[in-house]
Amino acid sequence: MVIAPLRRKVLRDLVRLWAQVLAIALVLAAGVATLILGNGAYSSLFEARARYYEQNRFADVFADVTRAPRALLAQIEEIEGVLDAEARILKLGLLDLSEMKEPGSVLFVTLPDSGKGLNQLHLRRGRLPDPQSAREVIIDDGFAKAHTLGPGDTLPVMMNGQQRKLLITGVALSPEFIYALGPGQMMPDPRRFGIVWVPRSSLEAAFDLEGAFSNVVLKLAPGADPNRVIEALDRLTAPYGGTGASPRKDQISHAFLDAELKQLSAMVKVLPPIFLLVAAMLVNMTLSRLITLEREQIGLLKAIGYSSRAVAQHYVEFVLLIAVVGILIGMAAGTWLGAGMAQMYARFFSFPYLVFTRNPQIYGLAAVITLASAIGGAVYAVSTVVRLPPAVAMAPPAPATYRQRMGWVRKLIRLKQPGVMVARHLFRWPLRTASSTLGVAMAVAILVASLWSFGSINYMIDITFFRSDRQDAQVVFAAPEPQRTLFAVRKMPGVLVAEPFRTVSSRISHRQLSKKLVIVGHPAGSQLSRVLGADLRPMALPDDGLILSEALADALDVRAGDLVTIDVLEGARPTVTLRVSGISLGFVGLSAAMDIGALNRLMGEDALVSGVNLMIDEGQSPAFYAAAKAAPKTELITITALMLSRFRQTLAENITVMITVYTSLATIIAVGVVYNFSRIALSEQGRELASLRVLGFTNREVAGVLFAELAVVVLLAQPIGWLIGYGIGLAMVAAFSSDLYRVPFVVGREVFATASLVVLAAALVSAFAIRGRINNLDMIEVLKTRE
């Protein structure tokens, strides 16, 4: 095979400039990898979920009732748009495992009808229970793994206040619990929360719900309007304590997956464009310099009859090859990161199968976008090749014209001559200086935009658990209880302080906007669970009126002083209008708070309590757990410390991964920009610098000239990077906040400092890589030749 001489030159150039080529290719690769990772994870997750929902007939509408007769189901099925309805019982129970000292809970769910039922199980091991058996159950896979339970094992639980020993016949997954978040938890914790599917008759008997149900799920006909179905459903369920149906998008597991998908698509919008932009700038810089150096060769080629197109193509090929190297590295990295991501998802989400996408479209798209941005970067430089007439090309380039600028600045800071050289050189190519500065700034920005989240989460934890909800434990009753139950809890071992609360399911509306949530009543002067204002001080609860969390107020477009309509969805179901007396701080979920007395008055009920917040003597906590578990009214026990440690542990695992990934990405950019910038500066000024060596400047002083130029660029980039990173972070906060959680935007000084330190370190490393070349400047060569 004969390789055309120009082709051979492309290959030689690649080899000769390998370090610069690699630096650019790595930046491109980072773009490719983040594109593949983001789009790939998105499509993997999205498609796995869609397929799972489809195959296992995941419901579209979910509704809770207190107790409705099964006969109601026929009426529900008649609602227009309803394809299928399934009546179920959903009840919480307590784990009674002897090896587990701390409390844990399970959710009992009616075993779906096999075949045509909704939310069908994906059986992993064992068999389905005998529908007539009173003991046989199926448990969820995560829970089974956390306790090494399997078919044939027994599961001791407290079911409706009674001790029961259930027999596990199988282990399964369900589309309803892909993200199995236990009540009152912040992270799935399969050790302390499990799903137990129980045959209908057995569950009806255990909860005294013979011939009745407590939850109904609907599958809608394609194209049916969920809102109209929900309206009709709510009318039917209201007499039976219906607390209002929710569409699929509000279903917890689904909503968390949505939140993850949203984050992924935000990531794809931010990271890859940064890399591709920086790579395009690097291509432009490097190619422009190469073309300047090769003016004479270009002129010669044109003079001997190569067309402008052929010469331009030569340089485009050079860039394309760089892009191909980048794409190959990026695809490998993207696939590898994708596999890691799929593994990480497996820790939070339980899917029957979740593999990282192999969709060639995603890889192809990444390749095309990357090629386009590389060529985009080359366009300007290549166009100068096309425009260069052969005669001009043969003559040396017009000497760079420098201008005296900012003389007053010089007088002010009294630059020495090498300093003047640095300043003039930076100003001589303002575009390059600016784009390099922007490139380094992007590295800083990526770090700022990723590192802030840890501080913010810590802030969120601090506010939520150390200033607002300061209880050590919370006991929730199965139903509102009279005051004496509170006194009984107070007498449990280890209880130091006990404060009651009341929860009432309601719909709060303001103009056209409405949200369904639980209003919480607190006693005046609560010490444990406090409602905090924007100033972090506890807010006084008004005798009438209520306080909404910031997120809820935003969702309803409410300001303090506005009136809102409350439709209570339980008890006597009153509808009242209340004034919003204040807006509180809160990051998790939507919340509305009232005085407990006022809430009970609103309900027209005696002083009832839904649960108790507690301060526990640490030494006696095991005794307390045991007592709380044994108390017949207890439905749920939440231990703040356990929930927090699970949250922190998960966070800590992710932090290491995230910091590694983002630091590598930022380093790639910083090194790529700084290295290319210095190589080009060295190539342009090599002659001057060698002349300085002749004049008696030391290696160190000469390196200083080049490094000073770098330092200006890198230092200038810091504040710009902080600003851009801050902006990106702000946009991310907006993109990430949902009804599930809202992330406070807290950027401490340490975030800026860390980002800058990482980038400065990367810049230093690249500078050292150049140092050898400066030390080897050939003084004699430079004297023999004219530039």
């Binding site: 000497p399 014209t401 420098y402 005296q404 003047v420 050289m421 002749v694 008696g696 400047f697 290696n699």
Partner: protein, 238 residues
Amino acid sequence: MTPNPDIVFRASGLTKVYRNGALEVHALRGINFQARKGEFIVILGPSGSGKSTFLNIVGGLDTATAGEAWFADHQLTALNEKGLTQYRRDHVGFVFQFYNLVPSLTARENVQLVTEIARHPMTADEALALVGLSERADHFPAQLSGGEQQRVAIARAIAKNPEVLLCDEPTGALDSATGIKVLEALTQVNRAVGATTLVITHNAAIRDIADRVIRFADGRIVEESVNTTKKAASEVVW
């Protein structure tokens, strides 16, 4: 041997061999040489005879393969990289064929480049006045003619009050009229500063302004003549 305090340069048996793989190029084959303080020496010789190699070694830009070279009481051939840098910085002024000015600095600033790091410099303006360029001090190299650029290079070389001034074909890129101006500048500076001056040239006519003329051929000094009738630069014709 007691060094004569009047002798600035001494070289004995100075040899330089370039090795390119198996190929050896003997650029210098044992040079013995002395120069007195303030002497103006012109070096002639055919292309490739080793003139630049010699100048570069005594200027501390290059190292010899064998032999000794001394500047006053510094043995140049024993100095390391750092020592040579210091030697150039403190004692030597260079003028080259291609000026080698820093394009981003004005004439004055190019001179200041040296005065800032020198031990006993004159001011940049004094140096520029010596070469007759006071008017053009604020111009960038790109705005100056070749001869003017070369005079700036000379001003830069002498501004540190060097003991030696080494010039490699300073008029090589210039026409004769301009070349004469540059030579005038050199002789005047030689007189004013008292620097020992070595000038490589291909122009035999320049020999008339020298105190002494040395001829190189094939890596050796083949002829040495003392000029008794020294002319002024303006009297030279070529």
